[in-house]
């Protein structure tokens, strides 16, 4: 049964190929159902494989499909490494992706490029599955680039709008910076181990020289920063909101941004072997990202922008967990986050769909009355992300904070503050969208909203908006994801070792590098209590400010936060000034230096040839003379050398 694992990526690939060939002929709903079916079948296969994996030794199974690059000692195969870690990833990726596909059938209804959307979605899921199932770094990199290129296609899916096209480009280019790190790490790994195969490098990692391990770890971390949108490379993610909302859900919940965390957990023995400051750096970057992204999210008006910064912030928690040596918790939070963030994004998509494309929260309000299912599911996910017990996000976030406290008290405080902010900005979002008074046809709000440029899409001007609940195709995924957003915490409850299913399941992968510590029941309860208090405090503050309006809204949204600490503008300014000059200089060098050398070789060859070809007169007699002269010269030479008199 477990040998069916190759089917898991093969099914989305088949879906991609068939949709590419026949998608347009299938027409509107059928192409969508076909794509959904491919992913759902992959999920069912994953379940079957999961059942089979229990019987494998160490819960690990490898399958070599074929040799891809056989070049002397550099052997790269296409193979599958199925271990507890990739199994968890595959299960939640295919599960969530299947529901996002289903949702997209409703959301993309009426789009002229309906079938093309599912082509890209299937390719996206295929790439992500290659990424997590690959048995060597190069194949992981193929999937890594695959999700990069798919995100480019999907973010700029509505490419007729200039902003969307450049958002896609921004995502791609920013990711390339991280990819550079990944590639350097790959080169270093090959130099150090002579192989890129996880099966060979991971067991040897403890014997690695510390300097080499540090280089690999730092470079991989840079790559992970790009893909998982961490400081300093997070800037692409908020702009990625330009894509259709199911894409945002897919990027944020199931694929793409989790890739960086996955990669770091995959190579955890290398991180462990590296200098200790690498892990500390990862933890600091994670905590800082969690904090800063949360502050930005507090002042955004675009419902999707809030969620985008929230994703950056939550991924920051995962990096904090990795940096604290709590790899299982990073994966745990990744899974719970996938459920509640998937639900939040699909819910926001449902709201936008019902509001005729309006994304500005100032024009919403009181939507719970017209969109009850969306509102209830959204609120489940809201409580989960805010960290209210007993919803799933509470358990994963609290445990990460516990691990951070074990690492350093400062990290714990920063993380806790970010958790407070998280509860605050998510509550602000919910109160603005679903509570309060209905503002969707309020002309003053419309003017205010359209004066701002930080919201990427509005409803068509002048029309009255009539919010409505979304079709069942969109609400069913919401209900399912909300269910898991509530209960996914059961995967890993901290009370007794017996309840830590995920911990025990992932044991073989992380056993070597996992930082273990024991905390007494009292400490555990105190930490749980503190987390609860902070979560509830955040919600309570938001209630005072945004439901009861104790303070005017303008004071709560400082310009510096609306503009995301001007980080984007700073980068733009730098790139237009010194960066531009540097690029011009390197372009000049490329044109004159590199191209000059290449063209020079060509020109020299041609010039030399033009001269040498004059020797060829075409007269047979000349050739005969040449031969004769040559023969005489040769004879004379031999006579002088051989015969000495």
């Amino acid at each position: 049964m477990v040998s069916l694992v190759w089917l898991i990526p093969a099914l989305p690939l088949a879906g991609f190929v068939l949709l590419l060939a026949f998608g347009r002929r299938m027409g509107e709903p059928i192409a969508g159902w076909f794509g959904t079916l491919a992913i759902a079948a992959a999920f069912v296969t994953a379940l079957i494989v999961f059942a089979g994996l229990w019987n494998e030794p160490d819960h690990t199974f490898t399958q070599h499909l074929f040799t891809w690059i056989p070049a002397g000692s550099f052997q790269v195969g296409v193979g599958i490494l199925l271990d507890p870690l990739s199994m968890v990833m595959v299960l939640f990726i295919t599960f969530i992706a299947a529901f996002i596909h289903l949702y997209s059938i409703g959301y993309m209804h009426g789009d002229p490029r309906f079938s093309k959307f599912f082509v890209y979605l299937n390719l996206f899921v295929f790439s992500m599955l290659v990424l997590v199932l690959a048995d060597n770094m190069l194949l992981t990199f193929v999937g890594w680039e695959g999700v990069g290129v798919c995100s480019y296609f999907l973010i700029s899916f509505w490419f007729t709008k200039e902003a969307n096209a450049s958002a896609g480009k921004k995502a791609f280019v920013t990711n390339r910076v991280g990819d550079w790190g990944f590639m350097i790490a790959m080169f270093a790994t090959f130099l150090a181990f002579g192989s890129l195969n996880y099966g060979e490098i991971i067991p040897l990692a403890p014997g690695l020289a510390q300097g080499t391990a540090t280089l690999i770890a730092v470079m991989l971390f840079l790559g992970a920063c790009g893909k998982s949108a961490q400081i300093p490379l997070y800037i692409w993610l908020p702009d990625a909101m330009a894509g259709p909302t199911p894409v945002s859900a897919l990027i944020h919940a199931a694929t793409m941004v989790t890739a960086g965390v996955y990669l770091l957990v995959r190579v955890n023995p290398i991180l462990f072997t590296a200098a200790p400051w690498v892990l500390t750096l990862i933890a600091i970057v994670g905590a800082a990202t969690a904090f800063i992204a949360a502050t930005i999210a507090m002042a955004q008006h675009d419902i999707k922008k809030v969620l985008a910064y929230s994703t950056i912030s939550q991924i920051g928690y995962m990096f904090l967990a990795v940096g604290s040596g709590a790899y299982v918790l990073a994966i745990f939070h990744m899974v719970t986050h996938a459920f509640f963030k998937g639900c939040l994004f699909l819910g926001s998509g449902s709201v936008i769909h019902g509001m005729d494309g309006e994304q500005d929260m100032r024009r919403m309000g009181a939507l719970r009355k017209v969109m009850p299912i969306t509102a209830i599911t959204f609120m489940c996910a809201w409580l989960a992300i805010s960290g209210v017990p007993p919803f799933s996000g509470f358990w994963s976030k609290d445990e990460i904070l516990g691990a951070a406290l074990h690492k350093s008290a400062i990290l714990y405080v920063v993380g806790l503050t970010a958790a407070l902010f998280t509860a605050y900005y998510m509550s602000r979002l919910v109160f603005l969208t679903f509570f309060g008074k209905a503002r969707w046809n309020d002309p003053a709000e419309q003017v205010a909203a359209e004066a701002d440029t930080d919201v990427s899409a509005h409803a068509p001007a002048g029309d009255e908006i009539h919010p409505h609940e979304s079709p069942w195709l969109m609400t069913v995924p919401l209900i399912v994801l909300a269910f898991f957003a509530v209960f996914a915490g059961l995967l890993n409850l901290p009370f007794t070792p017996r309840m830590e299913f995920l911990n025990r399941w992932l044991e073989p992968v992380v056993a070597y590098a996992e930082v273990t510590y024991s905390e007494s029941a009292l400490q555990l309860w105190i930490l749980l209590g503190i987390s609860t208090v902070f979560a509830l405090a955040g919600i309570f503050i938001a209630r005072l400010l945004w439901l009861e309006h104790r303070v005017p809204a303008e004071k709560l949204e400082p310009k510096v936060l609306i503009h995301a600490w001007y980080y984007d503008s700073a980068i733009a300014a730098f790139m237009n000034g010194p960066g531009r000059r540097f690029a011009d200089l390197s372009a000049l060098f490329d044109r004159k230096g590199i191209d000059g050398a290449v063209n020079g070789v060509g020109r020299a060859t041609r010039g030399g040839g033009a001269r040498v070809r004059l020797l060829e007169t075409g007269y047979v007699r000349t050739y005969a003379l040449t031969v004769a002269v040559g023969a005489i010269a040769l004879t004379v030479f031999v006579l002088t050398r051989v015969i000495s008199w």
Binding site: T617, V620, R621, A624
Partner: protein, 103 residues
């Protein structure tokens, strides 16, 4: 002593034949004559081989002549075929007119 002189005479003769063939190849333009000059050179070499074979009492000198004869036959087949083909198209052509390979 007489044999020795005779052998020298053969060698001188073959050198003369070779020289006549070589000079003829270089100065004549009629393709047919040029091929005949090449034949003359080849056979001059054959004569040399046989003479040295006799002088040094070595059968190899005569054996190699057979190889030269075979090569010469093959060369004549190709060469004459080319000459005939050219003569059919342009009866007055000389070797100098055929210089498509000039650089």
């Amino acid at each position: 002593m007489l044999d020795q002189n005779l052998n020298i005479a053969y060698l001188v003769l073959s050198a003369l034949l070779f020289g006549i063939g070589g000079v003829g190849l270089m100065i004549r333009r009629n393709p047919l004559v040029m091929i005949m000059c090449v034949e003359l050179m080849l056979n001059a070499v054959n004569l040399t081989f046989v003479t040295f074979g006799a002088m040094l009492d070595d059968i190899g000198g005569q054996v190699i002549v057979f190889f030269v004869l075979v090569v010469a036959a093959a060369e004549v087949v190709v060469g004459l075929a080319i000459v005939v083909a050219i003569a059919r198209r342009r009866p007055s052509a000389t070797a100098d007119d055929i210089r498509l390979l000039r650089g």
